[in-house]
């Protein structure tokens, strides 16, 4: 089986497990909750399902059509993707720290991530149109090198920052709610990774 077909098979299996697991977990959680679902929650869930199915439709169907020949990675898309990552990272981080209650209850986190998610659905569509499983097939060697360096920098910097935040939280100078820790980690990683990639791409 070619690497591309292997990757497609793994992706399908992971997707099925995620959908089934999500339904099972959702039902289990719903069974324990006593509160009535608000209209906002209902609208959010319907929007979320629509967005997920739209992303899946775009990924599975469009690369098999004639439009696929227009799917190309270029310098502008690479730069735009990482600028979007920076914007989403800053927005999410600010929202997570300043509006801890709001970002979780209003699902603001998911809305911030959706835009960024669609850019990378497009990257996946380009890969599928090229019948390739390797990102190195759509990026040149300098871009791959820049991404590797950015990933290393991100790992180190995010670990240091979270360690500092832990000590600050331990001494109760500034505390974050349990759920907010993941959002801070996610948006910090997104911001530093996208910023570093763009920095190395432009400066080196």
């Amino acid at each position: 089986m070619s690497e591309f077909k292997k990757w497609q098979t793994i992706l399908k299996i992971v997707l099925i497990i995620a959908i089934v697991g999500g339904i099972v977990i959702g039902s289990a959680i719903k069974g324990k909750q006593e509160q009535v679902e608000t209209t906002y929650e209902k609208i959010f869930k319907i929007s979320a399902f629509f967005i997920v199915f739209l992303a899946l439709f775009l990924y599975w169907i469009l690369p098999n059509t004639k439009l696929a020949r227009h799917f190309k990675m270029n310098e502008s898309l690479f730069i735009a993707s990482h600028i979007l990552g920076i914007v989403c990272g800053i927005t999410g981080l600010a929202a997570a720290i300043l509006w801890q209650q709001v970002i979780v209850k209003t699902h603001l986190f998911e809305f911030i991530v959706v835009l960024f998610g669609f850019i990378f659905v497009y990257w996946a569509m380009i890969l599928k149109a090229r019948k390739s499983a390797n990102v190195s097939d759509i990026l040149d060697e300098k871009q791959i090198d820049n991404i590797r360096k950015a990933a290393t920098v991100t790992l180190f910097v995010v670990s240091c920052i979270l360690l500092i935040m832990y000590f600050i939280s331990y001494h109760e100078v500034f505390t974050l709610e349990g759920k907010i820790w993941f959002l801070c980690y996610f948006f910090m990683t997104l911001l530093i990774y996208s910023g570093s990639t763009l920095y190395y791409f432009k400066k080196e």
């Binding site: 270029n74 310098e75 690479f78 040149d140 060697e141 300098k142 871009q143 090198d145 791409f201 432009k202 400066k203 080196e204």
Partner: protein, 74 residues
Amino acid sequence: MRLGNNIRRFRFDHNEMSQEELAKAIGVTRQTIFSIEKGKFVPSTLLALKLARFFKKSVEETFYIVEDVKSARR
């Protein structure tokens, strides 16, 4: 020790080709060509061979080692 190159000169000798045109011909981004010309990015052997082949030159004619002042004094 750095890697120098004659890519910019070859580009101009080649009907004043732009970095963008060269990048498209080789299959890399314009930024990569810019970084190579400035000596900020060292291309892989494969990319160096592609660039040399494009200009119908040898790799040694396209790239060279720039000795820095300290190693030159030694």
